[in-house]
């Protein structure tokens, strides 16, 4: 099975994506990750204003069959969360790179993104 891996963003080994715009990083999970999890039924996210740290947990995603931690791709302050996921967690399955986004982080240091994988590198990881 082939999975969508847009090349306009970067990836973590733990299957989150990060898309940076003017120092604000939007975060979600990949198409591969949502397929592995199956039907997403619950997403637990931090509050706006909370601080997150690169490579540390920022939340939890649950499918019918599994519970997984979510890891921050950069350190910074949470400036937005996708509240639509509380009522419609299935958006993560339906549109993981779009409507299924999870939060936006005002990055302390956008250079942290350099440590992430490119689309090609991530594709190799899940191959």
């Amino acid at each position: 099975m082939s999975f969508e891996i847009p090349d306009d963003r970067q990836y973590q080994e733990s299957h989150e994506w990060a898309e940076e715009t003017d120092g604000v990083v939007r975060v979600g999970i990949t198409d591969f990750a949502q397929d592995e999890l199956g039907d997403v039924v619950f997403v637990e996210l931090p509050d706006e204003g909370d601080a997150v740290t690169q490579d540390e947990e920022f939340g939890v995603i649950e499918s019918i069959k599994a519970v997984s931690d979510l890891y921050a791709p950069v350190s910074g302050e949470v400036v937005a969360i996708n509240e639509a996921l509380f009522d419609a967690p299935e958006l993560v399955n339906d549109d993981p790179f779009g409507e299924g986004w999870m939060l936006e982080i005002d990055a302390d240091d956008a250079d942290e993104l350099d440590a992430l994988l490119s689309a090609d590198e991530y594709e190799d990881q899940i191959a």
Binding site: D39, V41, F42, E44, E62, I64, K65
Partner: protein
């Protein structure tokens, strides 16, 4: 130890199934999505490969006595073609396993319904067939009974075709009519020239049939049923909604010993028969239980999972979740767990600790969903 594989492992793989280890078997957990598969069974039909379930065949002049001594229900109530849900208990009345016991045609268990010895087939849970077989042999020898006990798990596949449309689908496939069978009745029926034990049983809460099929014919028979293939993931959400127990999770004779009364399946205990564990269970029946299995719904957001603490509203731990999920039918988080009887009445408010946070829960009557 390598995993045992069901006869259709390759077919399932080609169909895009994801697999999981279950009871030592490599079984499909999901084909398309648990929600899709679950809904197919609730509204139409789904088929499950449950070939990991054990199949033990018992016959001989003392077959009835042996079955009576090792299962909690009363096998003498079974006419040919009947089946019953039962437990296998130890001397303390603790559930070792749950099982369905079928009375096959007397004799050699094939289609001849001649005047041979009583013959039974029972279905222990995945991974327990060898231990169960040894248990039967051991008791047979100790009691000096004349009975043959064969573990036929590797000889037969088992499929569950479940859902409101399942009887019609099975009826179309069989030469003989099977829709007159009542719940828990069974007969041999010919499907594409193959003798299959066709039982109106299942573990989803829906109407349907379980088919016990020769291993070598499994692929052909499976392919005859044109409906949604379902994995163990959907089987789990369906059986929780139906308030049905999962061995090793809702009872575990080593980690969480429970008797049938605590587990809410006291109806499987026939105290007027002699079986291993009978005296202990008679005492429990007399004295009552301190704890019992309840169903609950989480009122706050979250999903209950096996092992999470159940507490009072004052945060005193009184039990733990044995099974939990987000119910696809109810779209609500539901679970099962043992609590002291004073907290077991429907409507009682409890808490479930989800990753360190107390979530409000309410005891609900079982099953969560009324089906057949």
């Amino acid at each position: 130890m390598p995993l045992q594989t069901p006869p259709l492992r390759g077919i399932h793989d080609d169909r895009g199934a994801k697999f999981t280890e279950f009871g030592g078997w490599d079984m499909p957990v999901e084909f398309d999505s648990i929600r899709t598969e679950h809904e197919a069974v609730r509204t139409d039909t789904g088929k499950f490969d449950v070939s990991h379930m054990g199949q033990i065949h018992v016959t001989g002049p003392d077959a009835t006595t042996l079955m009576q001594r090792l299962t909690s229900n009363d096998v003498t109530r079974l006419d040919v073609g009947d089946s019953q849900y039962a437990t296998i208990t130890n001397e303390d009345g603790v559930i070792i396993d749950d099982t369905v016991v079928y009375r096959l045609p007397d004799g050699d268990g094939d289609r001849s319904d001649g005047s041979g010895d009583p013959t039974y087939l029972f279905v222990p849970n995945a991974g327990t067939d060898e231990a169960t077989h040894e248990r039967w042999i051991s008791y047979r020898n100790d009691f000096d009974l004349e009975a043959t006990v064969d573990n036929r798990t590797d000889e037969y596949a088992m499929f569950a075709v479940q859902g409101p449309s399942a009887p019609d689908l099975v009826e179309e496939a069989t030469d003989e009519s099977i829709t007159d069978l009542s719940r828990f009745e069974a007969q041999y029926a010919t499907i594409d020239g193959v003798d299959c034990w066709t039982a109106r049983t299942g573990y989803t809460g829906e109407d349907g049939f379980e088919l016990i099929v020769p291993w070598t014919e499994a692929e052909r028979i499976w392919s005859l049923f044109d409906c949604q293939p379902c994995g163990l993931g959907a089987r789990d959400t369906l059986r929780i909604e139906a308030g049905l127990l999962l061995a090793g999770q809702d009872f575990d004779h080593e980690d969480d010993p429970r008797n049938p009364y605590e587990a809410g399946i006291g109806f499987t205990v026939a105290l007027d028969t002699e079986f291993v564990g009978r005296d202990a269970l008679a005492a429990v029946d007399e004295e009552g239980v301190d704890e019992k299995l309840v169903g609950f719904q989480l009122i706050d957001r979250g999903v209950p999972r096996h092992g999470y603490d159940i507490t009072t509203t004052e945060s005193r731990v009184i039990g733990s979740v044995t099974s939990g999920t987000m119910s696809p039918s109810l779209e609500k988080p539901i679970g099962l767990g043992y609590v002291p009887v004073e907290y077991a009445d429907p409507g009682t408010t409890l808490q479930v600790v989800v990753r360190g946070q107390s979530k409000k829960a309410r005891v609900e009557p079982l099953p969560f969903i009324d089906t057949v």
